[in-house]
Point group: C2
Chain length 430, copies 2
């Protein structure tokens, strides 16, 4: 059998007899000419002949086409197959619920998500995931280059990580257990082992919020590392991670970026940073709202700050530093110079919180004090606290939400569009 | 402040004043000389001075040492720090429960696992995870090179994937749900989208078996791809994955491989393969057991076959093909030429099953027939079956168990030694 050629490579085979294989993306029958467009993992290829479509397969049927490659300026990729022999590889497909060959799917999001196994085949929907995959590769490349070790930590845990609420419970061989809301405790413990660690994995939040930015399972790009001199070191490493993600998305997912008209963000050598209190001042001065005294930024304020960063610094990214301790978890390192504020930050990407990070406590006594202040029982954290008795360096880290990254990058209005088979309050399938 | 130098780079700074930072691995006080061994992510470095240890910090304390680098044949890495100034970065550590500086930990496995946040710091324990991380990078590099797209699929699913038993149930916003036992259904559906996909992620098995090779959560390296002409194409891609893992383990985790005296396996260009029935014949002929007629291989038989492959083919790997359909899941493609047998395989690595894979059914009608034969209700698989109505190519894939790979490679007797914070029938923490 002639070996298979991918659609994208067709024009390198002009004059040759080749075989392509893929899904019948589109069948067009004109008066005396038939066009078949075949979709494979590399893109689209066209076969043309004089006469009717025979066999008359429905779209999405899986076919093989053997024919002679002829250069053609009108064909996708600049070449097409003539005198093709078409073979069905697995019988005629049931007609798909949507015309996947149209430039976009007009159905509403719930319908698209219900039909995900088929609708994801649409080149525009698929493109977001190609960008996501390239971004994750870029994250790992950056971490590898900085001496981080990749780890895989437990997703079934004996107690809630981030807070008692929003956690999924399960029956673990007759004992109560929970799905990990983050690898926080483990990645900190592993700083004691590897000094620099990262993890790409699922995290679980029993989010009661039905919003466009929350999922019950999402992919978290986590990093944690020791021997920092301040939380600014964490911001510097995060900047490298973001630069790596941007670079590989542009390089590996170039066709997908072009299809979605994505403008790769510019990652400044130093991303502009604004203290939380200064950000609130700025908003109070320039808008008709006054957020001063509030412990967090609203989505509207994040949008305003995103616009400000672009206008004033030409940056798609903005660090907001020093978030109030009141809204940060107990392991957050306070700012010793500024009571009530912390050595932590958020990274805002095009007006939306993308990353949370910062310096953590590293002294055992500080953990005991922090838990006491919140009225929490240190015995609930015994296994975790043990790590800090046996020598932990000043350290910090961050967590990037992959779906938020992809949504912001591609302009998707809802994170569900960039999650494969999303999980939320109302959705457990497909 | 002088910028930090890693232990492994010390000898490149002979004559210079440098700063190192890490954990106090070992303090040795001789009559008039003190040695401090500092452990950082790159290895060990030694500081020496005349006089008593001052400050007299316990081992595992986190310290910074500034001093002059002097070449020394006896020092780890060939250089040491003289006239050092030692600073504690986070106060004295509580003495660790084990002497982490000794060549090996003599405690039993349960004790080691209970103390994992500290015991994992031991260079010998840590080394296995460095090899695992490098292997995963090798897997991804191989997949990337072959045009696979990385995906992240749901771990919370509406029904059991592989069988009704051995599944963890959870309460999903008031609805029953399960932890995914594998990404099988999703990776098959995504063949329809990306043609070639891979995933590195956790899978969950409520294993009632308390053995040295079962875990309740493990890391699965999954791949699935379309347009195969036979299951042999799946074996060929798996061979590339294994070769990639082996190559990067040897390259990136060289020090860890040396520390554990790991001999990198030789991956033949074509891994030897034996049909299941022929494997049983061979065992019957050459041992005093007769497994013919049994639907599976026992661990003892796998060991025997592993030895046979090494002896007869000089290979650490052996494919056993054609496993009986009786023991394979319903989506397995039968061997049309040999009733009762399948187009699936196991890969045995040094005498233990490491990978299961094969060709899957790809026609909708075949799925309906397979489920009917097993007395299963197709309505339980409605979301999954829908994929096969809308055009799926002949396809197949495999799943590599990361912990089994690392255990076999490093000679660990128990997979728990190569899982970070393992989960099993009796263990939910740390």
């Amino acid at each position: 059998m002639i070996s298979r050629v991918l659609a994208a490579d067709l024009r390198r085979h002009v004059g040759e007899q080749v075989r392509i294989a893929g899904w019948l993306h589109r069948r067009r029958e004109l008066k005396s000419v038939t066009f078949l467009i075949v979709r494979d993992r590399s893109g689209l290829a066209q076969a043309v002949w004089h006469g009717p479509a025979e066999p008359a397969l429905p779209e999405e049927s899986v076919i093989e086409v053997t024919g002679t490659v002829v250069a053609s300026a009108e064909a996708p990729g600049g070449a097409e197959l003539h005198d093709p022999l078409v073979t069905a590889l697995s019988g005629p497909a049931a007609p798909p619920p949507f015309d996947l060959y149209r430039p976009s799917l007009t159905a509403g999001l719930p319908t698209i998500l219900d039909g995900a196994p088929t609708t994801l085949r649409h080149p525009v929907l698929k493109a977001g995931f190609e960008i996501a995959a390239a971004s994750v590769a870029g994250f790992r490349a950056a971490m590898d280059g900085l001496g981080f070790t990749e780890v895989h930590t437990p997703k079934i845990v004996p107690s809630a990580t981030e807070s008692g609420a929003n956690v999924f419970g399960l029956d673990y061989f007759g004992h109560p257990a929970y799905l990990a809301q983050s690898p926080q405790f483990y990645k900190q413990a592993l700083v004691g082992v590897f000094e620099r660690v990262f993890e790409v994995g699922p995290v679980f939040r029993a989010e009661p919020h039905d919003t466009a930015r929350h999922l019950a399972q999402y992919t978290s790009l986590d990093a944690e590392f020791g021997f920092i001199s301040s939380y600014r070191d964490v911001m510097a490493i995060l900047r490298e991670a973001i630069a790596g993600m941007t670079a590989l998305a542009a390089e590996r997912a170039q066709a997908a970026m072009t299809l979605l008209s994505v403008k790769a963000p510019i990652v400044p050598g130093e991303i502009p940073a604004l203290h939380f209190a200064d950000a609130q001042e700025l908003i109070a001065r320039h808008t008709d709202t006054d957020p001063r005294g509030e412990p967090d930024l609203s989505p509207g304020h994040e949008r305003w700050l995103g616009d400000w960063a672009l206008r004033e610094h030409g940056s798609d990214f903005l660090f907001v530093t020093g978030y109030p301790m009141a809204k940060r978890p107990f392991y957050t390192h306070p700012d010793p110079a500024r009571p009530g504020y912390s050595n932590s930050f958020d990274l805002i990407f095009r007006g939306q919180e993308l990353v949370t990070g910062g310096q953590r406590l590293h002294r055992h006594a500080d953990y005991l004090a922090a838990l006491a202040e919140r009225g929490e029982d240190p015995r609930s954290y015994a296994g975790y606290l043990q790590v800090f008795e046996h020598g932990m360096p000043p350290h910090g880290g961050f967590a990037i939400g992959l779906e938020r990254w992809t949504a912001r990058l591609t302009g998707a209005a809802n994170v569900r569009q960039v999650a494969l088979f999303p999980r939320d309050l109302h959705r457990l399938s497909p």
